[in-house]
């Protein structure tokens, strides 16, 4: 390869890139919180007796899971823009990833709930618990245990998806900052390598802390 690495100037960009990583983390966390909220609504909606709610929930999940995240984010920005609804780049990215997260998490929750045997509910009821009590004290903890790792997976996925923000003009997240430095100096490989390491560390931080949390939470 006809290329000599210039690491020193790249390292000088590190503080800016770390600020970018903070924005990345912010978007990912917000998209997960909102995603879980909407996923619960979707899971409830999918088993609703009203056809309208069922149809809405099913089409959300289908669209979110079967189209590229890039397309969803682009639509949130330029698609809504053509209808006169102007989302800021940050909001459009957040909306796109939340849409995606909610779709995947709805299925995760549905699967988690189905994985807990119905006999558990019946056993709890026969012990004298009410419907809600049985759900909260017996079903929920078991479901949470099952969906916990898929949840952390989705969180990692959300962090990585924030890199798509550049297509809607976001220039202050990690990829945005990296791209700015890149185009200014043309030192693509150095900056992208640094960004990759930071993404790796962010993702690793999430999985390791999830593991530690699981160790604390799920002890018998």
């Amino acid at each position: 390869m006809n290329y000599t690495f210039h690491w020193l100037p790249a390292f000088r960009a590190l503080p800016d890139m770390l600020w970018g990583a903070l924005v990345t983390l912010e978007i990912a966390v917000l998209s997960m919180v909102l995603g879980v909220f909407f996923a619960v609504l979707l899971a409830v909606g999918a088993s609703s007796k009203y056809r309208v709610f069922r149809a809405a929930a099913v089409s959300w999940v289908e669209l979110a899971r079967n189209t590229p995240a890039l397309f969803q984010i682009y639509m949130a920005y330029f698609g809504l823009g053509s209808l006169g609804i102007h989302l800021d780049s940050f909001v459009a990215l957040l909306a796109g990833i939340t849409f995606n997260n909610a779709g995947y998490l709805a299925e995760t929750f549905r699967g988690g709930l189905r994985a807990v045997p119905q006999t558990q509910l019946r056993a709890a009821r026969s012990l004298g618990m009410g419907q809600i009590q049985a759900f909260r004290l017996v079903m929920m903890p078991q479901m949470f245990r099952i969906v916990f790792y898929p949840l952390t997976n989705q969180m990692v996925w959300a962090i990585l998806m924030t890199s798509l923000g550049v297509i809607v003009g976001l220039n202050d997240d990690l990829t945005g900052v990296t791209q700015e430095y890149n185009v200014r100096s043309f030192r693509t490989f150095e900056y992208f390598a640094l960004a990759a390491v930071i993404y790796y560390l962010l993702a690793k931080f999430v999985t390791v802390s999830a593991r530690l949390m699981a160790w604390r939470l799920f002890r018998y």
């Binding site: 006809n2 550049v166 297509i167 003009g169 976001l170 890149n182 043309f186 030192r187």
Partner: protein
């Protein structure tokens, strides 16, 4: 005898192994019979696509001229602005004929020829936003193509103006025009040639000029790998010949056509 053959064979092998390594990029291009040019194709009139999706424009013709001079076939590789250097370094293209501004920062990475074109910048805005000149951009939402000369100049001014004025960097020119026509941004700064072409084309409704941007003249150069001095030397002579033979003016009249072809020299200094 057998031993002599062995030595001869070994010598021949060594020669064969050593010779190709000494061929430089210029040799490689001539030997391969194809010149691969990185051209930005959402940047009319420098590069765009015609009704049949074929690449056309000043840069496309420039690449064809270069290939003809080298006696090889031209291959236009569509390359968005931010991907020009990666395309070059990864060996997907041989030269960039891609309106690349010759900044000192970039010259640490890529090899630049003498300028082959020069741009002046104008503000492009939309009806009813109330932007008449560059100063009225203060407090407005602006955006441009990430990595271009004008994007860097605009962003540094936006930072200077401070709170209220925003800047967004998009990945290609088409997205900037889309964002502008939809109202995601109020104004952008683009080269006067692009602005004229896009307003005339009328694909995006309501776009209009908002006066000149007070930047330095944006000299753009051909780019090649930094260490390919042989190729860069050839390219420099080629740029010179394009002007000398009148081809530069002909291409300017064909694709831009307004006024005089911009001068490519800076008074008072060599190069």
């Amino acid at each position: 005898m057998a031993k002599g053959f062995g030595i001869l064979a070994a010598a021949a092998l060594t020669l064969a192994a050593v010779l190709p390594a000494q061929a430089d990029k210029l040799d490689d291009i001539i030997a391969s019979g194809t010149l691969r040019c990185a051209v930005v194709l959402d940047f009319p009139p420098m590069g765009s696509r015609d009704a049949n999706n074929e690449p056309i424009g000043f840069d496309v013709d420039y690449c064809n001229d270069l290939a003809k001079a080298l006696g090889v076939k031209a291959e236009v590789v569509e390359t968005p602005f931010p991907d020009r250097i990666p395309a070059l370094v990864s060996g997907r293209v041989d030269v960039g004929v891609a309106s690349t501004s010759d900044t000192l920062e970039r010259a640490k990475t890529a090899g630049f020829t003498i300028p082959y074109f020069a741009f002046t910048m104008v503000v492009l805005t939309k009806d009813g936003v109330g932007i008449k000149d560059y100063d009225s951009l203060k407090g407005k939402k602006t955006g441009s193509v990430s990595g271009t000369f004008e994007a860097m100049a605009l962003e540094s001014d936006v930072k200077k103006w401070g709170a209220g004025t925003t800047f967004r960097g998009y990945q290609n020119q088409a997205d900037v025009f889309l964002a502008l026509s939809q109202g995601q941004i109020d104004a952008t700064v683009v080269t006067s040639t692009v602005a004229a072409a896009i307003v005339k084309e009328g694909k995006y409704k309501g776009l209009m000029m908002g006066g000149d941007a007070p930047y330095d003249i944006d000299y753009v150069a051909l780019i090649a790998l930094r260490n390919e001095q042989g190729l860069l030397n050839y390219l420099n002579l080629f740029v010179n010949q394009q002007v000398r033979t009148g081809r530069y003016k002909a291409l300017y009249d064909k694709w831009i056509g307004l006024g005089e072809a911009p001068s490519l020299t800076v008074p008072g200094v060599y190069r």
